[in-house]
Structures are given as C-alpha cells and as structure tokens.
C-alpha cells in the first residue's frame, strides 16, 4: 500500500547552516507518527520543507505523487493540512474568516470541525487575535481539518498551553487522528505516548531512530535521544 508520505535524503541549508542532513521518513496511511527530538534538531524545518515553504533537495512523495519543487499551495491541495508551530492564526480576521479562507473544497466539513470544537461555532465573529492560546489552536487545527484532507502535519500543538488544556487538546487530536493520517511534532511525551503508534527521532538534522511508540517506555531511549528522563 502507498504510504501517506515518503521523504528521502532531504537536505536543507538555511543561511549557510546545514540544518537537515539527509532526513528519510515514511509515514504509512492511518494513525499518528510522531517526529521527536530536542529543540533545534530540525523538526519544524522538516515540516516546512515538506510543504515547500523553504527550499530543499531530496525526494518528497505525498500519497504516491512526487511533489518536490512544487509550489506550497499545490502540495496542500493534493491533500495536506498544516497546523504550524505557534498556530499562526490570522489575528486580524474573525474565526469565521479564518475558516472561510481555508475552504478548498466544494463541501467543507464544518460538521466535523464543530463536533470536535463546538466552541468555535459560538466564537465565529470574534477576532482570532483576541482568542486564548487554546482557542487559537482550535482554529489552527480546524483550518487543517476543514477539507477532509488525508494527511495532516501538526507542529507542537501543546506548546504554551496550560496542562488542563493539553489534555483537552489530546482528546481532540485523538478524534482528528480517526479522520486523517497525522505526522505530529510534539515535545510533550505524555501526549506522544497517548496518540502515536510510531516514532521517528531526529538528532542533528538526521533520523537517528525509527520505531514503535511503545519503545518510549524504555527510559534509556528517551534519555539518549530526547534528553529527558523516563516519563510514566
């Protein structure tokens, strides 16, 4: 079966610094694959390069189609939703306008969006810039979800959220993962262990480990690659 995403030998150089040094990742269809690693190892860069937001060399195949070198909007329309780090909602636009802008299909799936995030319906006329961090994250995920796209790239959704919100977010992402294949960048290992089936660990711009999410129970692996001591 064709993978949702295949990346091989991806290199990115930013301002003379060789940030990605031959990253290869395969994301099978269905479930959550977590992309892990310490700060600054190139996780966000990997997602941005996949979307053509920064120049790269290497091969990128989305659902069997070679998209390397494509313009970002064409890659996205192939069926890739993006939830960026720091959410990047359009602060001056209302919630409704943020969602409307994301509509790319004739029948946007507002039912899915509002069933997972009912709060967005009530806040549709509010400016996104005045929302709390958690609410902005809902808008950001909703935009990616609206078109029923098969692959979602989700970058550190729990960043900056209060612990109670992180568990609500994990609930929501669990439902999102039933609708699409997710490549998740996440620092919160509790969230990763709850959601992910597979893990890919990056270090210094290279993939240093690929395996099953249950391996995170191994404190040695967590310590070696992620710089954390075991998480229960």
């Amino acid at each position: 079966m064709t993978n949702a995403l295949d990346v091989s030998d991806l290199h990115v150089t930013i301002a003379g610094s060789h940030v990605l040094q031959g990253v290869s990742i395969s994301v099978p269809v269905g479930g959550v694959t977590a992309l892990l690693g310490r700060n600054g190892v190139g996780k966000t860069t990997t997602l941005r390069a996949l979307l053509g937001l920064i120049p790269s060399t290497g091969a990128i195949t989305v659902m069997g189609t070679d998209v390397h070198g494509w313009m970002t909007h064409r890659i996205v329309r192939l069926g890739v939703g993006y939830v960026p780090e720091d959410r990047d909602v359009f602060a001056g636009l209302t919630v409704e306008e943020n969602l409307r802008l994301a509509e790319q299909t004739a029948e946007p799936r507002y039912d899915d969006v509002y069933s997972i995030f009912p709060e967005l319906r009530d806040r549709s006329r509010q400016r996104a810039g005045t929302l709390s961090g958690g609410q902005q994250q809902m808008v950001s995920i909703a935009r990616a979800l609206l078109n029923g796209w098969p692959l979602l790239l989700v970058d550190e959704p729990s960043k900056g959220l209060a612990p109670r919100l992180v568990s609500e977010l994990a609930d929501a992402l669990e439902r999102v993962a039933q609708l699409a294949t997710v490549l998740l960048v996440e620092q919160n290992l509790a969230v990763v262990k709850r959601l992910a089936q597979r893990i890919v660990v990056l270090d210094h711009g290279e993939v240093v480990h690929t395996g099953d999410a249950s391996e995170l129970d191994d404190p040695d692996l967590a310590k070696r690659f992620l710089g954390v001591t075991g998480v229960k």
Binding site: L53, H73, Y82, D88, F90, G92, L101, R143, N147
Partner: protein, 301 residues
C-alpha cells in the same frame, strides 16, 4: 473663518487624491514587501491613457462624455500597466525583494524617459466639461467643483475597497496575506494571484489619482513627471498611516492634505517660505514616527 473652511475643503480634496495614490502602494507593500517605485508611473500612465483616448475621439461627443470616458481610461490604463508590471517584471524576481524594488525604479525611469521622448516635455491638456472648472456657492463659500469630484472619488474608492477587503474571499485572502503570506499558501491558496490582484487594484486607483491630480491641481494638464512628484507624498502618507493599512492611509492622506494646504496658505506667502507646505508634511512624518514608529495604524488591516 470663510477662508479657513475653504482651505479645509481643498485640503480634504487634496487628501482624497493622496489616498487614491497611497492605498495601492500600502497594500502592495503590506502583501509583498515591495516598495513599489513604479507606482508614480502608473499614475502618469493612467493620465496619459485618459488623454490619449479622449483626444482620439470626436470632439462632437461633447466634453462631459469625453471626460467620463477619460476617467474610465485612466482606471483601465493604471490597472493594465500595473498588472503587466507584476506579471512580467516583478514575478520573475519573486523571492528577491531588493531586486524587485530596484526594477521598479528602473522601470519608472525608463518609461518616463520614453514618454518624454514620445510626447515631449510640454504638458498635454485633457478635455474637461466646463462645470468642472467652475465653482459652487455653498454657504458663502466658493468651492471648486473639481474638488467635489476628487472628494467623491476618494470616498467611493475607500468604501468599495473596505467592502472588498472585508466581504469577498479575495479581500480576506489579501488581508490574511498582509499578516502572514506563508500561512496563506499553506492553506492551499495561490498567493501569486493575490499579488497580481493587488497590483491591478492599486494601479487602477493610481491611474485615477493621476488624472484627478491633473484636473484638480494643474489646470487639466498632464506631464510625464507628474506621477513621480505625487509618489513622494504617497510614500509619506503610507508611512504615516502604517504600512499595509487602508484606514491608516485614509486618515494620513487627510492629515497630509490639510497640513499642506493650511501651511501653504498661512505661511507660504512670507519671504523664503514658498516650500513650507512640503516641509510641514515632512515634519508631520517625523513627529508621527517619533510617537508611533509603525505609523498610525500599525500593520494590520
């Protein structure tokens, strides 16, 4: 008091023209990070398109009809020159903002040079209806009719632009792009189309500004360099208003028009003070930037 009111009115009319010239410049910068030095050229080309079309039509059609056609020609001429500039000159340099800025300067110099070669440096006269040169008496004031036309044009453009930016999908795309261009394309939207669109809209307004400036302030005469002198004030308006903000441009255009008009009248007649109007505008710019470095309306639409 009568004089002050009359000055206020003509200052507002001047502001309306500055707004037409500046709002497109502001949108283009906000969305694409390009300081478009060819914007003055679009004003000039709008005015020349108006003159060219009007002077090739039979005079028997009468000046009211000819002038109406000339107004449309200025809008189309400005829009067309801006659209072609974006597609053929700006787009190949995508991702290289410095080159894009430099090429707009070169384009302006080259085409103004061609106009000087082709039409000469003498001013050309646009046919206008008689009532446009006359004035209306209103509450003891003598108000030039051309000022009314500029004012109405400014208000109509401001209202339509606000409507377009708030209610249409393209408008929302432009507002979102001014905030975060990358995220707009990451939603599957072809930002390049929005780029062309803001150039076309900005060019249309610039073309109209070019014609109206000739009608209101230079006795219906157009010249190849008129756009460049208007461009300087348009830049000042954009910076005072806040780059990328349409409302900011509107407020700043009014302020600049009024300050220029008042100081020219009250101080300009003193010896050595002939340039006080222009100087006061630059002072206003300095004061506003001292107080709000990002302009009156920051960087949101």
């Amino acid at each position: 008091m009568i004089v002050f009111l009359a000055l206020t009115f003509s200052g507002i009319a001047l502001g309306a023209i500055y707004f037409l010239a500046a709002s497109g410049l502001s949108l283009i910068y906000g969305l694409m990070d390009i300081l478009n030095f060819a914007h003055g050229l679009f004003m000039t080309l709008g005015a020349y398109a108006a003159w060219d079309v009007a002077s090739h039509l039979p005079a028997s059609w009468g000046t009211p009809l000819l002038f109406t056609i000339a107004v449309f020609a200025s809008v189309v001429g400005g829009a067309l020159s801006a659209g072609l500039t974006e597609v053929f000159i700006i787009r190949p340099l995508y991702g290289r903002p410095i080159s894009q800025i430099l090429v707009t300067i070169g384009l302006d110099l080259a085409v103004v040079g061609l106009l000087l070669g082709g039409f000469g440096s003498n001013s050309l006269s646009v046919p206008v209806p008689l009532w446009l040169i006359e004035a209306s008496h209103l509450g003891g004031l003598n108000l030039p009719n051309s000022d009314f036309v500029a004012l109405i044009a400014g208000v109509v453009v401001l209202v339509s632009l606000e409507w377009f930016l708030r209610k249409t999908r393209y408008g929302i795309t432009i507002r979102a792009g001014v905030e975060n261009r990358d995220m707009v394309s990451a939603l599957g939207i072809n930002v390049g189309r929005a780029f062309t669109l803001v150039f076309v809209i900005g060019g249309a307004m610039a073309g109209l500004a070019g014609l109206l400036y000739a009608v209101v302030f230079s006795g219906d005469l157009i010249s190849p360099t008129q756009g460049d002198s208007l461009l300087i004030f348009a830049f000042i308006v954009v910076v005072i208003g806040g780059l990328g903000s349409i409302r900011g441009s509107a407020v700043a255009a009014l302020a600049v028009g009024l300050v220029q008009d008042y100081t020219n009248f009250y101080l300009g007649s003193h010896p050595g003070m002939a340039e006080i109007g222009n100087l006061s505008v630059v002072l206003l710019l300095a004061l506003v930037l001292e107080w709000r470095p990002r302009g009156l309306f920051g960087s949101t639409l």
